[in-house]
Symmetry: C2
Subunit: 151 residues, 2 copies
C-alpha cells in the first residue's frame, strides 16, 4: 500500500489560525501533506503578498501538519501537481476554485485526484488574511491617534 | 540522564522568520523546547498585540521546533518558569531583558538556568513584528492609492 498524498495550495501571506485549520484538516485526509505556496507574481486576484515567497515558503514548511512545502510554478500552475501526483487536492473554504472546472483541467492532463473543499475554520475574523491585515491597520491607526501613556 | 529543557518566551504577534529562527536556535540548545507566550495584558513595552493570546498560543504550538507552548502568568512572569524548571532560558536578539538582572531575579527564586541570548536572524527587515506591521501598512496604503488595473 502506498502513502496517500494530499496537496494543499495557497498564498499564506500572514500566517493565521485559518491557515493552520486548513492544513491540519488537509493532513487528516492522507498520510503526507505537501503544500504548494503561490509565487509572488502569480497572486493577481487579491493584493500582492506583503511577505516575499521565500519567507512564506519557510513559514509554511515550519508548521507541524506540513511534510513539505514547495513554491508554485511561475507560468503553469498544474506543473507541480503533475510532478507531485497527489491522491487528494484540498481547497480552502474561501479559495475561488470551481471544483468541477478544476477537475476537468486536471483530467485533461491525466490527473484524477479527489478534490475536497475544507470547511470554514471556527475562529471567524482571524481566519482570513484580509481581515487580519485590516485589523492591523485599524489597530495601529487607532494606536497612533490614541498613544498609550508612557510609563 | 534527564532531558535538557529549554524555555523561550515572547509575544509572537504576527509570526515571521525571525520568530522561527529564534525558536529553531533555542531548540538546538536542548532536548525539548517549551515556549511561554505573553498574555495580552502583559504586553506594555510596545503596542498591544493585534492577534489575541489564544490564537498566538495556537500558532506557536503549531511550529515544528516547539514541543509545547503555554500562556504566561497574568501577574507573575516567573511563576511558569518555576513550574517548568528549565535548564536553559533563551532571549531573542531584540528582547529587552538584561541578562545579569534576570539571572539575579531567578536566583532569588532558587532558579539557576543558563541564560543564552540568540543572535539576530539573517533575514533583516522581515525578522521584526514592528517592521512587518509597518510593511503591511505601507504596502496596503500604497495599494489603496494605486489600485491594480481590473483584469
Amino acid at each position: 500500500m502506498t502513502a496517500r498524498r494530499v496537496v494543499a495550495t495557497g498564498t499564506f501571506d500572514i500566517l493565521h489560525p485559518g491557515h493552520l485549520f486548513y492544513l491540519e484538516e488537509s493532513r487528516k485526509l492522507g498520510d503526507e501533506l505537501i503544500v504548494i505556496v503561490a509565487r509572488d507574481i502569480n497572486v493577481k486576484h487579491k493584493p500582492r503578498p506583503v511577505i516575499p515567497e521565500e519567507h512564506r515558503l519557510r513559514m509554511v514548511a515550519a508548521l507541524k501538519p506540513v511534510d513539505r512545502a514547495v513554491l508554485g510554478d511561475k507560468s503553469d500552475m498544474f506543473r507541480p501537481i503533475e510532478e507531485l501526483m497527489p491522491d487528494v487536492i484540498t481547497i480552502g473554504f474561501n479559495q475561488m476554485f470551481d471544483e468541477t472546472k478544476l477537475a476537468g483541467q486536471l483530467r485533461a492532463r491525466n490527473l484524477t485526484p479527489e478534490i475536497i473543499r475544507i470547511g470554514r475554520c471556527p475562529d471567524g475574523d482571524l481566519c482570513s488574511s484580509r481581515l487580519v491585515v485590516q485589523r492591523i491597520i485599524d489597530k495601529r491607526s487607532h494606536d497612533q491617534h490614541h498613544p498609550a501613556p508612557q510609563t
